[in-house]
Subunit: 335 residues, 2 copies
């Protein structure tokens, strides 16, 4: 053992973790290890559009934590911070298709986009109707280390919840894809990191930050953001995240938003709520009505300390779908 983590063989972390996830949540999911994917226990569900998401591991509870009633039908975990290959994506797609078609929710990283596309082509060749929605809610940078265009970050959680509810109530593939697109189009996110994280098989931090440095605009793999700054009070940090979000998608006074303060994995909740308080204050100054909120570690970068803020401009249908019952390992209410 050379890396200080609760793991066995670094090469088997994802397999063992997904196996443990399957044991802990056997009421919600079943787990296949070859090729690896996590499927809702009662899939495929007759007459229901299937929803599949996936991506590199290390962002838990994304995506497996969102498999269940009212959200995803399957999740495909790649190696840590590495896109899954087309093979398990195809297997997951087949496992959840009931003949009503399958939506792929894909974060905008080059590898994810390519591999989901290949899997979608193969599924189509098998007669499965597939649509894909690419999530690109991160306003921090135009292009990044792993992306052409904007990265897909915390907005993904909101898309999965809302599209999941649309599928659960029996909407068609086109309708589910359309609402997913609309959520993505109305979501804006930006993050920051106080510390890096260590990928198990790498054994050392993916980047370094001095004791007095914060990275603004970080991605969920520690890829660089906009700038490095010195230490600042929480309120100032929140302002730095919210300003580009509100600049990119302005709000009229009285418009409604969902405010999502997300922890990067290693940040205590006590800090996330300090940030929430300031964000609520700023949005109130702008006349934005926060009608829904989410606070916690929902899309992470292993043990990275940091946070992101996501603002989703809500319409009536989104609110209704947000409030719909959901029953997954990481998000559940109202059933």
């Amino acid at each position: 053992m050379s890396v200080k983590k609760i793991i066995n063989d670094p090469k088997r972390v994802v397999d063992e973790s997904v196996a443990g996830f399957g044991l802990a949540h056997a009421d919600l999911v079943r787990v296949e290890l070859d090729p690896i994917h996590v499927v809702r226990a009662d899939a495929p569900i007759a007459g229901k559009v299937g929803i599949v998401s996936g991506g590199g591991s290390g962002h838990e509870p994304l995506h497996a934590g969102y498999v269940g009633f009212g959200m995803l039908d399957a999740a495909v975990p790649g190696a840590v911070f590495t896109s899954p290959t087309p093979d398990p994506i195809l297997a997951a797609t087949k496992a959840v298709d009931s003949g009503s078609g399958v939506l792929h929710i894909v974060k905008n990283y080059t590898g994810d986009v390519l591999n989901f596309e290949t899997a979608a082509d193969l599924a189509a060749a098998d007669g499965i109707d597939v649509r894909s929605v690419i999530i690109n809610d991160d306003v921090a940078v135009k292009d990044s280390l792993y992306t052409a265009g904007r990265r897909g970050v915390a907005g993904t959680v909101l898309v999965e919840k809302i599209a999941g509810a649309a599928a659960e109530r029996g909407n068609s593939l086109d309708e589910v894809a359309d609402v997913a697109e609309r959520v993505n189009a109305n979501a804006r996110s930006m993050g920051l990191a106080l510390t890096p994280c260590v990928v198990p098989h790498a054994g050392e931090p993916s980047f370094t930050l001095a004791e007095d440095e914060i990275e603004i605009g970080i991605g969920i793999h520690g890829e660089p953001g906009r700038e490095r700054i010195g230490l600042e009070p929480a309120d100032r940090l929140v302002d730095r995240l919210l300003a580009p979000i509100l600049e990119d998608l302005p709000y009229e006074r009285g418009e409604r938003a969902l405010l999502f303060v997300n922890g990067m994995g290693g940040t205590p909740q006590v800090e996330l709520y300090v940030a929430y308080r300031r964000a609520a204050e700023v949005l109130e100054e702008h006349g934005i009505e926060i009608t829904r909120s989410l606070v916690g570690n929902y899309i992470t970068a292993l043990e990275m300390q940091g946070m992101s803020i996501t603002l989703l401009k809500l319409d009536d249908e989104m609110v209704e779908l947000w409030d719909a019952p959901v029953q997954t390992a990481a998000l559940r209410w109202g059933r």
Copy 2:
């Protein structure tokens, strides 16, 4: 700013965080800041026993995250890692008493026990029927830096859920206290830490661990445990936590348990599920039936990396109460 955290004034962290919590969860709770306590939005509830818990902050979501339908009626947060004074405990007790009495759920730390006792005496003088249950599920050490007897750790979450359900269904104060005692008597926990944590107003780690050291039997404030060891694979670490738990409260083959793998705040979920997998394997070897499980960061020590394992020996009533609907910020299902 000298400490790398998402905070403003270190002395105002708890106030600002609790204020943010109140804004984010206004549907579930109301927040009083002077003296500080978090109360279920619809308290006091006629005919229902009130349940109050509390303790030092820094263990979130414990306790405020568990205020709501089917769990706590109020939470009293002290300063970080510092017991709340009797004053807010008394205020919370009064706020939730409907005339049916109030249960105090108290983790066994000297300050908490004394201050809850004082508040209970003051409440009794005001004519409120109070019973107290002291949680002491930690098998690691007999006495510790802050405790005479065993410490109260992750078992507290299970007591709060199960006693909360008993109160919600209308049980009497004695019945609710009795089931809380029974859960405590049947819960055993032990934890470990890979890293220390930094208390905001202290600004430096409460202890140090070398790059190749793990502390076994750690408390939730970083107080010392049983021993320091070198790095080991996850499976071996799990075995080290489970052995004293099973030695302290042996199981007959076929007995049922709730397996709770808890993160200390900074440990990624991917690692917690690796640990869960091994724990399930060991319990299966012992013929113990895991009929319920909980995995995640439910009682933490700020950003500490580490975990604890709790095993609760279940009876039929506990299972029924565990499964009952709950609607709080941090734990919710089935309503």
